[in-house]
């Protein structure tokens, strides 16, 4: 089960009407920290209204929005504040500030007041220099070092959007809302920025693996289904085509008709939208077909799948190990992830995609696994003999500890499942992983 503080955003039965026209009807959405949730839907179905309600600039007619901060405090949204960052479609950079000044603005608001800036000039100058350095570093990461001192009207659309994202991210909001952020951009720039979001997602995964809360939770509104599936690890579709006629005489508003996980994509891999075909057609069937009157629950599998441990990336279940300071922590979680990935190879995965995902996982974890299994490998390679006796003794003891741990059910079962699944779905990966786990082979074969 997800701990309460892992849910960063909770919309509870949100409804909104503009006069007599219902826009949103009982929209309930929980977003897990670190997710990239893509919201799709037809034009005018209330996507932006939902975003504004989350932001706090639009009061819902009924229902509430809650944000849980990293300090585990939960608060209802009453207006826009620094818990929630926003990047609208038209960038919304302040025209009177350069790119660098736009990015530092959040830090200035956060750490100073008008009076402190006016009356503590030398303190403010020092602080300002620090802000500038931090913002410059962030802009460099976003490949904007040459544009730092340009005004927004001197930047291209893609550059402006990157500055806007940097501006929103520098204050580390609990959640970042992107309202059709790439709508006005050309295809190449759009792809570049989509990869940038995936890089943020990968960073989330790394931070989560270190046991810390992921820094970037993103809700992106888009009308591009491919974009939604590509950048999001979860796709939510809003639609007015549901079975409202059973209870109402006229449509009370759009509601969520589709809520499912999306495959995790990697920024350095080739974009292949063909592999999203199945999910795309599911979304169309659920939310874009005016003739259909869907049951609201029919395409909402997210929580069922998540709770049964099917998630990838940030949604992957955390390893259940009751051993304090487990020496096989990384290897065990790798095995669990590999097994899950191979076993989940169902509706949305092709063999090629699975291969890519498995390779990514191995690439990411191989160093950590090698570190963990090094003492065992040394003993197998006969290395302890060349070191001083004490060191050799320590290595021997550590090797024993690892062997004992490897025999524990929580590891050995996961690792065996992984090897079985890999043998079935990806023999090449099976051979490669076997090489990495060579020191534990006898245990995994059942002869240890």
């Amino acid at each position: 089960m997800v701990a309460k503080h892992d849910i960063v955003l909770e919309c509870e039965n949100l409804s909104h009407r503009f006069g007599l026209r219902g826009v949103l009807h009982e929209v309930s959405l929980k977003v897990i920290r670190g997710e990239i949730v893509a919201i799709v839907g037809e034009t005018g179905c209330g996507k932006s209204t939902l975003l504004r309600t989350i932001l706090g600039t639009q009061r819902p007619t009924s229902g509430k929005v809650q944000i849980t901060t990293r300090a585990h405090g939960t608060c209802d949204r009453t207006g826009p504040d620094r818990d929630c960052g926003i990047v609208p479609q038209h960038y919304c950079l302040y025209p009177f500030l350069t790119a660098l000044q736009n990015v530092t603005l959040g830090l200035m608001f956060e750490q100073t007041s008008l009076t402190s800036r006016l009356f503590r000039r030398s303190w403010w100058r020092k602080l300002r220099a620090g802000h500038m350095d931090r913002a410059a570093k962030l802009l460099q990461e976003l490949k904007l070092e040459h544009a730092m001192h340009l005004y927004p009207h001197e930047l291209s659309g893609g550059m402006r959007q990157r500055v806007a994202i940097a501006q929103a991210l520098i204050t580390e909001p609990e959640i970042l809302l992107l309202d059709e952020p790439f709508g006005a951009l050309d295809e190449a720039t759009r792809e570049e920025l989509q990869r940038m979001l995936l890089e943020l997602y990968m960073e989330n995964c790394k931070v989560k693996d270190r046991g810390q809360p992921p820094p970037y939770t993103i809700v992106i509104v888009t009308h591009e289904l491919n974009e939604a599936i590509y950048v999001g690890d979860r796709v939510v579709a809003l639609s007015r085509y549901w079975n409202w006629k059973e209870r109402f005489s006229e449509c009370p508003g759009a509601t969520i008709l589709f809520d499912q996980m999306a495959p995790v994509n990697y920024p350095d891999e080739e974009r292949e939208f063909e592999i999203f075909a199945k999910q795309r057609s599911d979304i169309r069937a659920a939310a874009f077909d005016p003739k259909a009157t869907r049951n609201r629950e029919e395409f909402q599998h997210f929580w069922r799948d998540f709770l049964s441990g099917k998630g990838e990336g940030i949604l992957a279940p955390t390893q259940a190990c009751d051993l304090p300071n487990c020496p096989l922590k990384n290897t065990c979680s790798f095995a669990q992830r590999m097994a899950r990935l191979a076993q989940n190879n169902g509706s949305q995965q092709t063999a090629k995609r699975l291969e890519i995902s498995l390779k990514h996982l191995l690439k990411r974890d191989e160093e950590a696994i090698a570190d963990e299994l090094r003492p065992l490998r040394r003993i197998l390679d006969g290395e302890p003999r060349i070191g001083p006796g004490q060191v050799a003794g320590d290595a021997q003891a550590e090797a024993h500890k690892i062997r004992d741990t490897a025999s524990r059910e929580c590891f050995v079962n996961a690792a065996r499942d992984m090897m079985d699944s890999l043998q079935l779905h990806s023999p090449a990966m099976h051979r490669e992983v076997k090489q990495h786990l060579m020191p534990l082979q006898s245990i995994l074969d059942g002869s240890g």
Partner: protein
């Protein structure tokens, strides 16, 4: 084709040509008038105008003689200044003070009305009402309130003459600032004061300067009218006084007034470019 662009050289040449046409036209007109009546000064010749200009640039010999006599009794008596300097100082001071105060006042009121709906509901109707009253028609009111010949009278007629309309245009500029800018500032952690000062004021600053530029014309009209009726110094007074004897001083004064207005307008544009380098006016987009 309409609005077909022209080369910069052609634009400058046409501008110069229009000036030359004006000068030639005037010269022809005054030549004809001089032929009919060589002593007339209603359409003075260039040399007559130069004479008129000399008379205001030099100190009046009679006043200089009076000052010398006065020095015997009062060694601190101030030396009389040339009429042009005295008039320009008086009119300039009234105009700068009046415009400065009206810019500050209307910026405060305009920003407040643009930011807070309650202030808007409270102040907008009276501002709209006052903006419709010509300040020249309200001269007697200012006269009663500030007193004839007082500095405050001339400053207040400029200030209150310009303020309602300028407040309205600044209010409209403030209203134009996108809600997205404001909510974004809140998401970055800004307080209400920070949003007003850092976002609102900076966003509308170039529009404030544009509003001030547009207000120069009406401000000069109000001030000259007031000086004509209730002053014994200043451009308005001099124009009215010298018009009785001819136009030899009036025309140079009108040209000086135009240069005065141009200088202020140019200075404000320069200031706008310096303080708001990011501002790209609509016409150059």
């Amino acid at each position: 084709m309409l609005r077909k662009p022209i080369r910069k050289l052609h634009r400058v040449a046409l501008g110069v040509a229009s000036g030359i046409v004006l000068v030639i036209g005037y010269t022809a007109l005054c030549y004809r008038s001089q032929q009919l009546n060589p002593n007339q000064t209603t359409i003075p010749s260039w040399s007559q105008m130069l004479g008129g200009l000399r008379s205001v640039v030099r100190t009046d010999p009679a006043a200089l003689a009076r000052w010398k006599q006065a020095l015997a009794n009062n060694p601190d008596a101030s030396r009389p200044r040339p009429k042009l300097v005295a008039d320009a100082t008086a009119t300039g001071t009234h105009l700068f003070l009046g415009l400065g105060l009206s810019v500050i006042g209307s910026m405060f009121l305009g920003v407040m009305m643009g930011c807070f709906r309650r202030v808007e509901a409270f102040l907008l109707p009276p501002m709209a009402f006052l903006a419709k009253i010509p300040a020249t028609a309200a001269l007697p009111v200012f006269l009663k309130l500030a007193g004839q010949g007082q500095e405050t009278f001339f400053v207040s007629i400029v200030t209150f003459g310009v303020l309602p309309a300028m407040s309205q245009s600044i209010y409209l500029a403030a209203r134009e600032v996108s809600d997205e800018y404001l909510s974004k500032a809140y998401t970055l952690g800004a307080s209400d004061t920070a949003v007003v000062w850092t976002i609102m004021v900076r966003s509308i600053l170039p529009h404030v300067m544009d509003a001030a530029r547009l207000a120069i014309g009406p401000a000069i009209v109000y001030l000259i009218a007031a000086e004509m009726l209730f002053s014994d110094i200043g451009f308005g007074y001099r124009i009215r006084y010298d018009a009785k004897t001819g136009m030899t001083v009036v025309f140079p004064y009108l040209v000086i007034l135009a240069i005065f207005g141009f200088t202020m307008d140019f200075s404000l544009r320069w200031l706008q470019r310096k303080t708001c380098p990011w501002f790209v006016p609509e016409e150059s987009r």
